[in-house]
């Protein structure tokens, strides 16, 4: 509708929307604010909070007291590790399903998606015991394995949808142009698939970073990623709001930034194509 919207209406809508947006975002904003305060200030009344001195002492405390960097690194290894592992397994599968569809392709795809719907708690017991017996508890490797399998259906699904969008005529043209299978994949398919693979990687890193069931139950001090590390603040000693804020800000900042770029991927990956 390109009829003129009155500036007044636009202004009202804008104000309303910004207020709503601000309210929704507020908890995050407040956390960031508190991270730059001392512990004493962090628990005082809001007005006081805003006017008190800004300091980096909480960030320093977080680094000193707990090995924040270790947990951050664990999150990185686990998220990227499981994503790359999933991609290695999923790319051939999605390629085959998109370009050499058979009668059962659709069924296989649906079955894969259905495995994602199995509640994790249903296999908590066996996985825990298996990991315990295999020495995988509290290891990054163990978590990478679990998260790879948990997210594999989504990765396959997303890649499948991206591959399907590559017009088959272009691949046929490559064949007519004399390309062997290897050339076809190397020179035509991969360059066209790279954006899709990147999007899938982005979304999966986000999902793995925020995963908070297996990371909480299968790790202790050594392999705990940020999710578990933050959870340790649930029974803290002494004043801790500012440190919690600092740790939280550091933990969520990377994903917030990545998330801003991945809205479209989110819709594609998590609605399994049921919404366009």
């Amino acid at each position: 509708m390109s009829r003129a919207v009155t500036p007044r209406r636009k202004a009202i809508t804008t104000v309303l929307a910004w207020i709503v947006g601000f309210l929704i975002f507020f908890p995050i904003l407040w956390t960031i604010v508190l991270s730059f305060k001392s512990e004493g200030d962090a628990i005082s009344a809001p007005l006081n909070v805003l006017t008190s001195t800004w300091t980096m002492e909480s960030y320093e405390a977080v680094q000193e007291r707990s090995n924040y960097f270790l947990h951050f690194w664990n999150s990185v290894v686990i998220s990227f590790g499981s994503t790359i592992a999933a991609l290695v397994i999923a790319i051939p599968a999605a390629w085959a399903m998109a370009f050499v569809p058979g009668k059962r392709t659709k069924d296989v795809l649906m079955w894969m998606l259905s495995t994602k719907m199995m509640p994790a708690v249903g296999v908590l017991v066996p996985i825990y015991l298996l990991f315990r017996d295999m020495g995988l508890l509290d290891t990054r490797t163990g978590l990478v394995i679990v998260l790879t399998l948990m997210n594999l259906p989504i990765v396959v699904w997303m890649l499948y949808t991206y591959f399907k969008e590559i017009p088959s005529e272009i691949l046929e043209a490559a064949r007519m142009d004399g390309a062997t299978l290897r050339s076809e994949i190397l020179y035509v398919l991969t360059p066209m698939a790279v954006p899709g693979i990147a999007s899938t990687l982005l979304l999966n890193v986000i999902l793995a970073w925020n995963e908070a069931f297996w990371t909480l139950n299968l790790t202790a001090a050594k392999a705990a990623p940020l999710t578990a590390f933050i959870a340790s603040y649930s029974s803290p000693e002494g004043l801790f709001y500012a440190k919690l804020s600092a740790a939280s800000t550091l933990a969520i900042a990377p994903i917030l930034i990545l998330g801003w770029f991945s809205q479209k991927q989110l819709v594609r990956g998590l609605t399994f194509g049921a919404v366009k």
Partner: protein, 290 residues
Amino acid sequence: MSTQASRASARLMISPAVLLLLGWMIVPLAMTVWFSLQRYNLLMPGMEAFIGLDNYEYFLTDPAFVTAIWNTLALVLGVLVITVIGGTLLALLLDQPMWGQGIVRILVIAPFFVMPTVSALVWKNMFMNPVNGLFAHIAKAFGLQPFDFLSQAPLASIIGIVSWQWLPFATLILLTALQSLDREQLEAAEMDGAGVFSRFFYIMLPHLARAATVVILIQTIFLLGVFAEILVTTNGGPGTASTTLTYLVYVQSLLQFDVGGGAAGGVIAIVLANIVAIFLMRMIGKNLEA
């Protein structure tokens, strides 16, 4: 490209994914079912015995189980109601012409990307804490007694926290669906004399209904597995006031070490999730035809 050679190599390429997922599904699942039929307690190893369906009987007759089911239902329904209605309203708002729409979108989407432990702890401490939380300060400023959210209304508080996290998802999906609505349909309706409300009810709402159904089904799957938020705020308490089925299984398995009982609970959780999954798979299947 459906020659014989391609078929064979295609099968080869799909097999790792299929085999791994098959293994991931079958092995642990079989073990869960097996354990659920045993008396198996990690504190008393070596005393496992086959006890048939006793675990199930025990689990299902445990008053904690009934409470957990109700709590699970309340959590899922509560969050669904808030996020779907809220998401629809937000989507309608964001669909309007305004200045800085991109930024508002970012503000609204943000909570979804915050890890559950962070959001739960932030809400628990900085907002809901009856002494130092923001709500407490505001209440005191108005001369009211601060409300101890997590003690006095544990489940409701958790519903609030989880809704805050999932509202962006619902909004994003519904907004995407809204923006895919053919503007010409609305223009035709306007030519036919339909006012703003009529256009909403007869054209927009049916179009959104499909997306809303997807949101409901997918969120339900994920909401059934809510865990971290409960763990770091109330631990399922006070008592079992905020224990869901998932949390109950966790408590029994890893805190009480009753692997047999926990496994039975796990099987029940799987059955419930499958019911929802069947509906969701049908919707997805219809779309895969397209």
